[in-house]
Subunit: 225 residues, 6 copies
């Protein structure tokens, strides 16, 4: 089964990365027996260090994005190195390279592609390109809420959400480099136009990814109208 | 003055391209005396021929996008070749290459970058990257209307429009490869976050581009809230 | 069996491409069960649109050739996309890349390589590089004639022709970008020096390619002295 | 004057990078009026985070080196982005690219090149390649000591040291990824074979770099026998 | 004045290369004051060593060609290194890169491009691409003869020759890797289609190149019908 | 078994290369049945021709190194071409490419990587990267001596030597381009840090390589303290 997993940047922060990255590497090795996998790494806290330093020097936002992309590729490389012979040894820098490397049958780890895109959009495009049967987005929240749960105590987690509802919930979000949330408009449009089966889970506990792949009830599943 | 010009794919259709491309090449040569220029070419009718042929064979949308990107780069190369020594001799394939080539002081012609983006988004990102003072989007309509003028005879052309209004007008548009209209969400977000002065003009008459650059009243100007 | 197929640009014109490209894709999938295949795409009518536009602007012939090469690569990509997992996902840009991609065991689709060469020469070099057992050149004529049949009603189609005779028949032909006919001198020299079994067939009917591969009597076969 | 500056990874740690990187960017802009500059960035604490995570997963040392190289290139990009139009917009990945980019007259920022090399070796090779008149190595110590000052309180700082003495002082040092000290054997051999004028200074105070370039008494100067 | 110089492989043989290469480097430095230069290096004796070793192992001719191309690029690099800052620091591997590097205003040194082409064809294509005003082919013979002077003592050197005559004189020549003579069919067609002013001189005495550039009577000049 | 073989440049000199290269190609084909192989080629006499010519023109040492690297890659290509389908068709230029190509299961042939490194260091890094079980260094001496046997008639060949002893024996050696001996400091450090089982044999008789791989008593084996 062709499976795309997005692992948010949270997994690569200094305090967490050694144990969480190791857990994801172990999970991916196990999954690779039955799945042909693409794993997309986010940027996370280290990306934000560079983006902030650059922004203070007046660097344009698209180049701040680019710094975040480089960190996400570095995170992808850490996963690929940890996977050793289970992974394709290069990180794709374009969709063409992704196709090319995926054809090897090995796990392909990748980061961002171009400014303006989040790594969620990259994951959606990757899923579309290889006609993936499932796309799991492992984030550091436990699913999609009716509202921002850190601001609104009455916010409720949704087990299912349509693309239209999710677009509405997410609209108004800032699109500054390093601050994309859950899904950006490109990710949503791609998921919708190719009807990619997508689940958003709490990736701080990697077992949730496994549950989502096994179609167990976990996180928030995206529905199509 | 750093200026970014998007020339829609309409200028490169078989029937038009010889004369319109020639006119744009002449205009760009003239502008290059006072402007440092990036010109982004769209894909147009020839892109749609390839996209349709691919879609009928069941090719994924992201790869259909990629075919359109190749045609837009071919269109960019035609402009660069026509410009001769006025143009940088390579078409940038990434934002890094764009910066690199723009530093030469020559006109840089480019097409699309990655699937999921329209060439309007590319133009906005290019404008952001080089901190352009003006971005002119030469389309085959005479500006932004309150509604689709081909469907609604009461639709009125707007001289000015905010990003929020434009987002609303454009929402609901399909995002299949080759059908992006005027501006896509990525383009709008980038224009907004970096407050890029943007005008949409009817590029079927290239003199309109010149008018927009000279800040004459023409087409539709984008305002920031 | 290692087999090289050149599909002339005629197959990619707007009116024809959807059906003929689809037929070639189907044929290649079928052949790939028993053949290790390289397919070289020509440029055709769309290449000529760009070449003519460029030539009118005074662009040097070698750059006009280059525009034709880009279109031939776009045609190759359409075939590769149509073939999906049967094809290597990248178009080789050099002979080194060709070897590299061919080693994957997948069908490799490619276009032109460098100015001065026709795609017939590319096909001959590809056949030589991989030591192909057969090279079929699918054109939009039904074989080699003693003279140009559109000008000379007494011209007769040849079932077999030596390289020396073919050189003589083809000499005097213009070598402007986009106008190479059947075989150019580089193609002929390469076919001769490595004695590559070569047949020229009418590719407007793809079944003729199959016949040539099965060594049935079809088109014109090239003999060595 | 052709000048090569190595800025150790210490300048890019999270706590320091915003202010120190900014100071180096300002210093480089000022120097660029009279110097043609190459600046090599080290990896530092962020490199060590990735290297440690990889090493715990059993990744080979050469790939750990590679992770450090990627971080050093990311640091170089932060400097290049901060320099804006004063810098060449690409980070060279090979000595050939270095030559190529240096020919532009812009400041070239770069990181590591290949496993087995420290970024000090890269700086020495860069200095040799462009025939630099001075190489300043900005470290987080105040110069070369007769012994490790953190272990031996009687260690004395040397104002001058021969390559032979320095080789002796530094021998016995571990060469695990991310732990190269001051100068590695490759750096020393290159400095010696091309007699590159070299000074090691305390880069935690960027003004020391300026002093070294002005040939003021600062840090430790390397002598040739 | 845009000038293309082909220096045959003879100049790079072990016995000759130190002095002849040095003389060509000096000549090019001198010429660069008034000319914008491309210099194409041939392969010569060292190319033939590798080609022969490969051919004995049954390597296909196109890959033997490729070995010769690598040696010609190595020869080009030796010239570029000798020229130092007068040369563009990279060797172009494609016509696109040639345009790109030539735009720098520096001398561009290059070798072969693709199998099937001689370096004479490369030189002709380079001359066409940049619209060179003169192409001098420095060989190890003193011009074009009516017949092979080593076999026919009555052969006479021609001061002028038409492309048609030269084609006839050169026809019948073998086209095995490393054995192309003076001009190959691609070179001649390109020279003819773009009417490139071309002179073949005895390059064993570099002063002859200077004479040809100054339009003095030397070697054999190619005429157009 | 993963096996790395370094074949010194001596095997590629004009007089020797046809027979010795052929013998190594045959040996590698035979070994490939049981071993996953990387073969690193040195530069040798032809490298020295180019290095000497460049050095006389005042070219910097790092660029002389680069010329030697190109020749070593040319030597690697000759081996790869001779191996035909047993070899990966591209020569890796970086450690990343090496991993990438090695994953194909084919024999990978490579030359040098960057200035400052010998090809012995490249071989050690390659062995470390793929976690090779044995590294055989085929040289043109019959092992390591207590002293230079051409200068000291009492020098004795060592059957085993520790890294520390070897470092001492080799210290004092010049490190000018093209003159690295047996092992350079980078090679020794890498062998030591990853405890790579290494044997130095007389490669003028290729059977010695086979003996070393079979752990027979031959040449000099490197011990770890």
């Amino acid at each position: 089964m062709k499976t795309v997993l997005k692992v948010g940047g949270f997994a690569f922060s200094e305090s967490r990365q050694e144990s969480l990255v190791q857990q994801y590497v172990d999970l991916l090795k196990q999954l690779s027996k039955e799945h042909q996998l693409i794993v997309i790494a986010g940027g996370g806290a280290i990306a934000r260090i560079y983006i902030n330093a650059a922004r203070k020097m007046g660097v344009p936002e698209s180049l701040c994005d680019q710094l975040g992309i480089i960190v996400s590729r570095l995170n992808a490389r850490l996963i690929a190195d940890g996977l050793g012979e289970h992974a394709y040894p290069e990180i794709p820098l374009t969709v063409s390279e992704l196709k090319h490397y995926f054809a090897s049958g090995k796990i392909v780890a990748m980061g961002g592609l171009q400014p303006g895109h989040s790594t969620n959009a990259v994951a959606a495009i990757a899923a579309e390109t290889v006609k993936a049967e499932i796309f799991v987005n492992a984030t550091d929240v436990d699913g999609v809420y009716t509202n921002d749960p850190t601001k609104d105590p009455t916010a409720k987690r949704l087990e299912e959400v349509t693309v239209a509802e999710l677009t509405k919930i997410l609209s108004g979000g800032a699109v500054r480099a390093g601050t994309y949330d859950l899904m950006d408009p490109v990710a949503l449009k791609v998921i919708e136009r190719s009807r990619i089966p997508t689940t958003i889970v709490d990736g701080r506990t990697p077992i949730n990814v496994l549950k989502a792949i096994r179609r167990e009830k976990i996180g928030t599943r995206i529905l199509f109208d």
